[in-house]
Amino acid sequence: MSDTSIGAETELTARMREGNEDALGIVFSDYRERLRRIIQFRIDYRIAARVSDSDVLQETYIAAAKRLSHFSKQTEMSAFLWLRLLVKQQLVDIHRQHLKAEKRDARKEMGLQPHVASAQTSMALAVQLAGSITAASEVVARAETIALLESSLNEMDEIDREVIALRHFEELTNNETASVLNLQPSAASKRYLRAMSRLSQMMSKFEESQNGDEA
């Protein structure tokens, strides 16, 4: 992610491209937590109850080892983005498998996943943000802000939401984001800043309307 790591990474990446599985092992374990993060945010909560993120990581590694030869052809792609791609493919497969009964397009469900009883999340988060505040009403007010953020994210258009997801939930750099979205870095940056600005506006609009309700 940061520039300092690129030198070491390219050497390992080069060995990966030669089909060296040890190199894959090292690179994979380096990226393990980042990949786990992606799984956590992209997996459907109904599946999360049945499949642990470690399971998905495991499957991803097996897939990577199997398809290591494919990587040599993906000269445009960094090792991280390639592994990320495999993770997402794994998720698509798992979602398809598990949600088959519901006849939903699993691929479509690959956005930011709503969380298990997300009400719970906001409440928990509110408590965390509230710190030493003990009055229930203040905690509730905090929870409202978080709920606001959640609903703002959900109401954004898909491209805006996706770019925020990549930058913040997957913690991709602008360059990586550009590569994933197949854009020039400057265009990706513009899109991100615009999305953030919209988010900010939506939040303040919501706040105003809610304050208005209560007045």
Binding site: Q120, A124, H168, E171, M196
Partner: protein, 936 residues
Amino acid sequence: MSQSDHTQPDLDSKPKQSPAPTRADHFDLDKLGEQFSKAIREGKYPNIDAYTNLYPENANEIRELLESISLIETFKQSRIAVSDPTARQPAFTELDDYKIIREIGRGGMGIVFEAIHEPLGRKVAIKVLANNLLGDSKHLIRFRREARAAAKLRHTNIVPVFGVGTSGEHHYYVMDYIDGMSLHQWLTCNDKDRAHAAATVDANTFTDSESDQFEETGGLHQPGSERVLAEDMSTYQRWVAKLGISASDALHYAHAQGVLHRDIKPANLLLDRHNTLWIADFGLAKLAEQKAVTATGDIVGTPQYMPPESFEGDYDIRSEVYALGLTLYELLTLRPAIEGNGTADIIRKATQGVTVRPRKLNPKIAPDFETILLKALSHDPEDRYTNAGELRDDLTCFLADLPIAARKTNPIERMIRWSRREPKVAALTIATFTLLVALAGVSAVGFWQTKEALRRAQASEQSSKQSLVLETKARNDADRQRQLAQDNLQVAVTALNEVMENISRRGIEAGAEFLGEVTDTTSPNVSAEDAELLNSLLGFFDELGKNNSKDLLAESAVAAKYAGDISMRFGDLQRAEAAFNESLKRTRELAACDPDATAHVVAQAAILNELALITGLRGRLKHADNIFFRTKNLLESCADVMATEEGQFQHAIAHRLVASHATRIGLDDPNPNQRTGRLWLSRRVRLPEFKLEIEITRAVLQESIDVLTQLTLEHPEDQKYRVELARAYRDKAVTASLARNRNEAERSIQKSITLFRELLAANPNLDAVRYELALTLCSSDTFNMNFLRRSIEAHELCLKLLEKSPDLPHFQALHASIRATLAAHQMRTEKYKVAEATWQEVLGIYESLIASSPNVLLYERRHSDTLESLAELKIRQGDRDAARNYLDQAIEDLSLAIKRNPNSPIIRLQLNRLINRANRQANAEKTSGSQAATGK
């Protein structure tokens, strides 16, 4: 660079320090944002101003971006914490004795595994708690305590908890494995499965053809399934009612044990393959809740299933009635009672309460069922069922087509109130509840369970002994041994509690705990079997006590105290004293481990007070005084302790006891009237000293009374304070009448009587209160104008007590005491013949008491007192030979008593006094011809 570098907080940097951003040559908002995000991810707290200051011209857009980033990043981090609290936990294959089979599920609090307890081959479910839930040891201790309370619950609809354990850094909770699904799963699975589940769980109500119908309609109609409900609503709601009965019965039982669940919702109600409902996770919700309060960001209940008052921090058994109501509502209507868009909305709706009547959603729901739900779901807890048992009873009536209680109380009014949501001024009835819960607590466990517990305890005692041998052989196995010991301890403590309950159920009445010192003497209701079980348990606890674990120490301290209590009831004061001393020793060790905990200090004081009582009863007053000073110093040396109610309470009890002992010297409470010559009984023979003593006693008692009065005012609901206060007033009356301060004596006795009468009115079934009242009634002295009336009332009360329990020694002793009071009165009014008959009767009672309870010195003394009184009577009648005879008997009595109790100064004093009196008598006889001798 690996990702772990990002998530590691920089330990060197101070928390509030913001990493200095740097100004680049040209302004790049994206880069600034990236820098800022990185800082947050590294656990730092970057300051937005530091960034805006770099580019004042772009301050607004920077602020806008960074504020959004801050929100998103914090949101994300905590979502990770919530979504995967177990992220840092490795996969398990085994935990101590348990072999992990598979993961059943994950929740906010940890992972649930199916596992096998290898030594027993028993299938269990293990909840491994997320590490972040039990961060510090305080929570851990609390968790263990909660889990232990949950483990004591035994009900056919509560998932049995086997224990808690720790393996490495993982804490886990072992419970029975329930093969089935939660009601949450049942509600969210698709309708076809649901119909099938309903069909299999209740073969009686769902015939084959009906279940086929279910499958068809369910398959056709996703997910609202109105038709399913319409098709066979009556059968379906009867099934829901049955689940409700099981759940409310289980809750009612747990409440009676003083355990709240705190998180009743469909996900915690399990349905097994035999149509049985199980409530899971008792004791765990509280853990999550308190953790949330400490702001580390985990789950705070589920707002959807939280009762309105809980948002204001109020929560009691009626809140659980409400939560169960929500679940039944959801089962009945197949949609959550509280729904909303996003958290804020859900919370708002949850605080408003349920507003849509079930029948509005489905008119086929029976009106009575709706009425029951409306009552359970009343917004104001006052309007709900007062406990889960009432909800259960109404559901049962509904099933049996009987009139329901909710209906009787004007359903129309309730409906109007319900729809208007009128805020009401609440009248407090919680006090009544507390008492009900306390009273109900004892009566729930059957005798067979005690027997079962005995078997288990003996088995575990053996296994524990074996394990101790093993321990010496294999030291590296120590950790596992501890685990095993703890499991065994769990069983033993359960057994012990059951014995205690069993005894108190058969012996003293239920709910009499708040009376504290109920009996001075033996209760024949303690059976030999109990004694045997108790002995084996004590041996077991001794064995465990050798283990230096702090947890075990606490348990064994409690066990020793129980042993003391029981020995007290046996009337075996010596053994009780030894047990209390043992308990004191362990409690002191505990206090040494944990010097800040006030609870240990209070516990020590409570034991010391028991010891003081025993020592007083055994007549070792000096020793009792010493204990009093120890208790006083212990409590007063710790300001924190004296700030607690319990500390003040024990302090007051200590004061009352010492005063009581002072008045006990030679007095033989409760009757100060038996002889007129009581003043020269003790080392307080000389008048000025005695006066001083009385003054000190008065002061000490007054202090006790002040504190108890304060406690009573602050906690009018807590009856133990009032009991103790009434006892203190009784002692004050006795002290005052010793000092010949009759007005004060009368005022005090009136207060004591009033207090006990109130207590008796509130607890008309408690004979222990009746006993205390009778004691007070016969404590007024013979000069009092109310004396005769009170003695008669005391006598009536006493006869009532004896009618019920003719064998209880302390009732008999009371009887003797009252009769002796009357005899003294008869003597004063010179009705010598009647008096003699009464004294003889008293003598007979004491003789039988001495025969049945040879350990109690008090009875021997009273016996000899009675003989002395008879001697006095004979002197007044002029029958000197007979008087001499009685005196000789009394001396003989005491000589025997002194052989058995060589350390009792009281007996010695009394004996000396008698001998002196006999000598004076003899001298008087010699000189009787010349002078009138009244022998003083």
